[in-house]
Every structure is written in structure tokens, then in C-alpha cells.
């Protein structure tokens, strides 16, 4: 394609600006977390660890981290298990109501979190299950299932449809074939789904805020600081959370990339 240099550079600069816009708040938050001013402006104040020290000497933050980790791990495990079963079902079976099945599996991300939170709180309180850690786990699992399913479904797409029959053919029962063929084959996507859903859960605040009761998660603490005594502790907490989440993503990404580098020709 012929391309004059001006257009090329204009496009480059434009794209760079878009990325700057996207990363401005992330970088700013990092910078502000080390800035002594409570309301940072230019020029910046001095360097400080103060906000980290404040945030992490608050036992509430620690117990929130504990709740968050518990919730993220539990809902990641549950959502990945359920997402796996849904992806496998979609991959292998055809049955009456399959379309409805898929809609049910993929609908949750289209419902605004506030609405889902409201509905979940009302629903769970019928069973006396609101305001507990388990309520957050339940709700987060619902939100994470579609993500887990999508990731695992993509991997199953790459699986030779004869692989499972080949295992049965060699004497494996369906359960044995699942254990010794389907699971090993989809393992990278299972790990990726675990990381992804854990990260999604770890960052979710709207639903957690509604249903958490007294068991706050880290994002709920952030929300409370934001609605309450606003200060750059948010940035400190956010930065640490970011580092944690991004490590999970990088692990997932490495697994995905690894798969791209080593293509399996059937």
C-alpha cells in the first residue's frame, strides 16, 4: 500500500496519544502514591512512602486483603470449574435448549454490575446468605464463569475432535478420557482462566460493596476511602493491587503466548 509519510506519522502520533490517555491515570496513580501532597499538582511534592506505610499499617486493609484473596481464589476455582464444564458441554454436545444454555452462560457481563448487585443482595438475603464472605464468592463466580468459559472454549476449539474418541477407543472410559486427555490438553487455558477470573474478582467493587456486609474486600476499602476520607492511600493500595493483578495476567499471557509459539498441528 502506498503511504505518504505524513499520514503514517500522524497515525503513529494519534495512536500514541490514545495509549497515553489510557495509561495516564494508571501512571499518575503510581506517581501520586509516592508523592507527599494529598492533592497532587504540578510541581510535584517530595517523595514519600507515607501512603504505603499508612495504608499497610491499617489492619482493616490487611483483613480486606485476606478477604479479597479468599474471595478471588474461591471464585476463580469455582468459576473455572463451572466455566470448564460449560465450555466442554458446548464443545461436545448438542441438545434441546443449547442456545438458551449459551445465553445463560454468556449473559452476566451484559448486566450492569449495580443492577446485578442489587438483585443478588435481595435474593441472597432471602436465604440469609447476604453480608457474608460466601455471598461475594457466589456473586463473583457468576460474573467470572463467562470469562472462564470463553478462554477454555477457545482452547477446546483447537482440540482434534477425534482426540477424545481416540482415548475411548484405546479403552478409556469417558471419565478417564476426561482426566487423561481433555484436562491435560486444556491445562494452559485452565490456568489462564484461573488467573483471569482471580484478577476480575480481585478488582470488582460494585457487587462486593453491595453484598459484602462487614467483610470488605480491597476494592471496597478503596471505594470507602473514595467516598470517605479521600487520600492517596488509594494510590498506594491501588498500585500494589495492580502489581498483584498484573502478575496474574502476565502468567496467563505467557501461557497463551507459549501456546502461540508452539503450534500443535493436530
Amino acid at each position: 500500500m502506498k503511504d505518504d509519510i505524513t499520514t503514517r506519522w500522524l497515525l503513529r502520533i494519534y495512536t500514541a496519544v490514545i495509549f497515553i490517555f489510557i495509561f495516564a491515570p494508571i501512571l499518575a496513580s503510581f506517581v501520586f502514591s509516592f508523592n507527599s501532597d494529598r492533592f497532587p499538582t504540578i510541581p510535584l511534592g517530595s517523595f514519600t512512602w507515607h501512603w504505603y506505610v499508612t495504608a499497610f499499617s491499617d489492619s482493616d486493609v490487611w483483613s480486606a486483603a485476606e478477604v479479597s484473596i479468599l474471595v478471588a481464589l474461591s471464585s476463580a476455582l469455582l468459576a473455572t470449574a463451572i466455566g470448564f464444564s460449560a465450555a466442554y458441554t458446548d464443545h461436545r454436545y448438542d441438545f434441546f435448549g443449547k442456545k438458551a444454555f449459551l445465553v445463560l452462560a454468556l449473559l452476566p457481563p451484559t448486566i450492569p454490575l449495580v443492577i446485578f448487585a442489587l438483585a443478588t443482595l435481595g435474593w441472597l438475603s432471602i436465604f440469609g446468605a447476604s453480608g457474608k464472605v460466601v455471598s461475594i464468592i457466589i456473586a463473583h463466580t457468576v460474573l467470572c464463569v463467562p470469562f472462564a468459559m470463553a478462554v477454555i472454549r477457545l482452547r477446546l476449539n483447537q482440540m482434534d475432535p477425534n482426540l477424545e474418541p481416540a482415548a475411548w477407543n484405546l479403552g478409556a472410559t469417558e471419565w478417564m478420557a476426561m482426566k487423561s486427555v481433555v484436562v491435560p490438553f486444556t491445562l494452559p487455558s485452565i490456568v489462564a482462566a484461573l488467573c483471569l477470573t482471580a484478577a476480575v474478582s480481585f478488582d470488582e467493587f460494585a457487587v462486593a460493596w453491595f453484598v459484602s456486609g462487614l467483610n470488605k474486600t480491597v476494592p471496597v476499602i478503596i471505594l470507602e476511602i473514595l467516598t470517605g476520607n479521600i487520600d492517596p492511600q488509594i494510590n498506594a493500595i491501588g498500585s500494589v493491587v495492580f502489581v498483584v493483578s498484573i502478575s496474574l495476567v502476565v502468567i496467563a499471557q505467557v501461557l497463551v503466548m507459549g501456546r502461540i509459539k508452539k503450534p500443535e498441528t493436530v
Binding site: W49, S57, D58, S59, G128, S130, E224, T227, G228, N229
Partner: protein, 373 residues
């Protein structure tokens, strides 16, 4: 975590010290400290308020914060009974808590009623029923005109009319709760002591006055937003608040101030109640006693999230001893011209209450309409 904290040596030391200080505290909290569930306005469960008590009694407060009495009632209503061990509510909502059977009876002899700084406080409306005590007032503060001194003069701030000043169009904020803001409008309309007790015509006029302010309004904020808006100069005046917000900012060096205008001001009052069905009534009682002790009152008056007045003579004395500057700033010295007690005595302060002739819902509905206008 450790890696992050390992950059410069001095900072590392500082961080390390903090971690060392925090760790036993944290681990103890995780070990076996009795957890006390607290429902309160933002800040009441923070370390500056409860840290000393927690350390001395091996307890751990687990706070749930709300903004506004309606919000508090809603939170309680949706939790199973016995969820909250201690409830800090606005005084005007105590009655509702009591009617709904959400709070325990208290023993008046346990608390320092004799030391109250003002007689009204001993018999605060709604706190007693049939001679039984249900809630213990712990602190209060005044709401008036909160403004940025660079945009509004002291003279102008003497009336709520300053909200309509053309120069601050789009820079008047509201604390997002109907009671204080609409109360101020009622005062501006000259309802004085009957500000909560207005008939249909009076209510219509309040709505009219409020609506006329709409073009000036720059936003509706929660606690953090209010704070932020005034501090960073987004808002030049804020309706529905008082020194509880500006006091924090003033101490931080911002050019903001709160005054009680000629039309009168509103007093917010916070009281502790013991949650119905709690198994921790004894330690909660001990905590309330602590908060009413001179030491606790001084801490409460200087609460980091928002300051309030000490309500016992002992507390005022303790504040004057530990932080005379703050005592002076807030007029909590006998004989000061802005002594809150004097203001009450002069009849310039009205206790915040709930609407008498309308329901809370009516007010809330109008508030929604106003916000959406």
C-alpha cells in the same frame, strides 16, 4: 510487598518500623481479638478513634460506614438482627431505631450525665422513652455556611443568601443528603425554630427556594467528594455541611471556613446505641463509657475524619489541655464568643430533626427531583 519497601534506606527503616508496629497489632487482630461490629459515619472505626481502646481491651472494631440517617436505617434493615453490636446514629434517628426495636435499653447510671456541658444534652429528644435510656449522645457539631474565603467575604457568609452569589455560579456544592440542605433552606425562609415543622405552604416555599438555587449548583457529593471539592477549589461554597468538613481542611491550610449565619444554624448530634441482641453488650458499654470519658471526648473532638464538639466539661477540659489550638479554633473555651453552648443558648442553633408534617420519603423524593432538575 517487601521489595516495594526496599528502596531508600531511611524509607525502608520507616516502613520497617511501621510494619513492626503494625504486625503485632495485625496478628493480634487476626489471632483472637473480640470483633465488634460497628455501624457508623465514616471515620468512627478508624485507628485514631478506637486504636487505644482496641489495644487496651484486645478487641477489634469492624466498621460499616454509612452516610445519612436513611442510609443507616436501610443498612440495618437489610442485615439480620444482632449484626451490629454498636450503632452510631444521628440523634434524630434514634427514635426510629427504637420504634423498630433495633437497640437495647441502657443504664443511665453507667454514663456521666452530671458532667454534661449543656442541660439539653441530658434529655436529648428521642433518647429517652418512658424514663428509659436508649442512646447516649457522644458528640455534636454545627452546620452553617461553609465557604472558600477567597470567593465569599465574611460579611456575605453571614447569610445563606451568599449561595446565590453570581460569581460562584456552578461552584455551589451540596452534601448529598436532603435533611441538612433542605433544613438550611427552611431557615433561610425564616422558619427559625420551626424549621422542621412546616405546613404544606411552607414546604412548597422550601421547594421553591431550593429550586431557585439549582442553577448555582456544581454537584452533589458524598463525604469524600465534599471534602475534595472544597479542597481543590472545585466548589466555593457547600450547603448542608459545617466545620466537620471545613475544620479538617482548615487544619490542612485550605482557605475554607464555616460560620453560623444570621438565619440560624443546625446542630448535628451523634449518639451511641447498643445493637439489639448483641452478645457483646458489656464491652460495648465499656467503649461508650470510654468515649464519654475526658480522654475519649478529647479524641472524639479531634477525630481525623471530621471534628466535633466535646459534650462533657471533663472532655472540654481535656481538649484544652491536649490541644488548646483546636479548642480555640472551634470556640470550645469558656467565654469564647463562638462557644457552641453560647450559640445554642442564644437560640441560633436548632437541633437537626426529621420533618414533622411531611414524611422523610417526601423530602427524599423532592431531593431526587431537585438533583435531577
Amino acid at each position: 510487598m517487601k521489595k516495594l519497601l526496599n528502596v531508600s534506606r531511611r524509607d525502608a527503616l520507616k516502613a520497617g518500623a511501621a510494619a513492626v508496629l503494625a504486625m503485632p497489632f495485625v496478628s493480634r487482630a487476626w489471632a483472637q481479638a473480640v470483633e465488634i461490629n460497628m455501624l457508623a459515619w465514616y471515620g468512627h472505626g478508624e485507628p485514631d478513634m478506637v486504636g487505644a481502646f482496641e489495644a487496651a481491651n484486645n478487641v477489634k472494631f469492624k466498621p460499616k460506614y454509612y452516610a445519612g440517617g436513611d442510609n443507616m436505617l436501610a443498612l440495618i434493615a437489610q442485615s439480620p438482627p444482632g449484626t451490629y453490636d454498636i450503632i452510631l446514629s444521628d440523634a434524630e434517628f434514634v427514635q426510629q431505631l427504637n420504634v423498630a426495636g433495633l437497640i437495647e435499653e441502657m443504664n443511665a447510671a453507667d454514663y456521666p450525665f452530671d458532667d454534661m456541658i449543656y442541660d439539653d444534652f441530658k434529655q436529648f429528644p428521642g433518647h429517652w422513652k418512658d424514663g428509659k435510656l436508649y442512646s447516649m449522645m457522644v458528640r455534636c457539631g454545627h452546620l452553617g455556611v461553609s465557604y472558600n474565603t477567597t470567593a465569599i467575604s465574611e460579611e456575605e457568609a453571614k447569610s445563606y443568601k451568599c449561595y446565590w452569589k453570581p460569581e460562584i455560579k456552578g461552584k455551589v456544592g451540596h452534601f448529598d443528603w436532603h435533611l441538612p440542605s433542605l433544613g438550611q433552606m427552611s431557615l433561610l425562609n425564616g422558619n427559625g425554630a420551626k424549621l422542621w415543622d412546616v405546613d404544606e405552604a411552607g414546604w412548597g416555599k422550601i421547594k421553591e427556594t431550593t429550586m431557585s438555587l439549582r442553577p448555582q449548583v456544581g454537584g452533589y457529593f458524598d463525604y469524600g467528594g465534599t471534602f475534595n471539592g472544597l479542597k481543590n477549589g472545585e466548589m466555593m461554597a457547600m450547603a448542608g455541611i459545617g466545620d466537620w468538613i471545613t475544620g479538617v481542611l482548615e487544619k490542612d491550610g485550605a482557605p475554607v471556613k464555616s460560620v453560623v449565619p444570621v438565619e440560624g444554624g443546625i446542630q448535628w448530634t451523634e449518639s451511641y446505641s447498643i445493637g439489639k441482641g448483641t452478645a457483646k453488650a458489656d464491652i460495648v458499654k465499656k467503649f461508650i463509657q470510654y468515649m464519654l470519658s475526658p480522654e475519649g471526648q478529647a479524641v472524639s473532638a479531634q477525630m481525623a475524619a471530621y471534628p466535633g464538639f466535646a459534650i462533657t466539661n471533663g472532655g472540654r477540659k481535656a481538649l484544652n489541655e491536649t490541644n488548646p489550638k483546636e479548642a480555640q479554633r472551634t470556640g470550645q473555651m469558656d467565654g469564647a464568643p463562638n462557644d457552641p453552648v453560647t450559640l445554642i443558648k442564644e437560640g441560633r442553633i436548632h437541633y437537626r430533626d426529621i420533618p414533622k408534617q411531611q414524611t422523610l420519603e417526601d423530602w427524599n423524593d423532592f431531593w431526587q427531583e431537585y438533583k435531577n432538575a
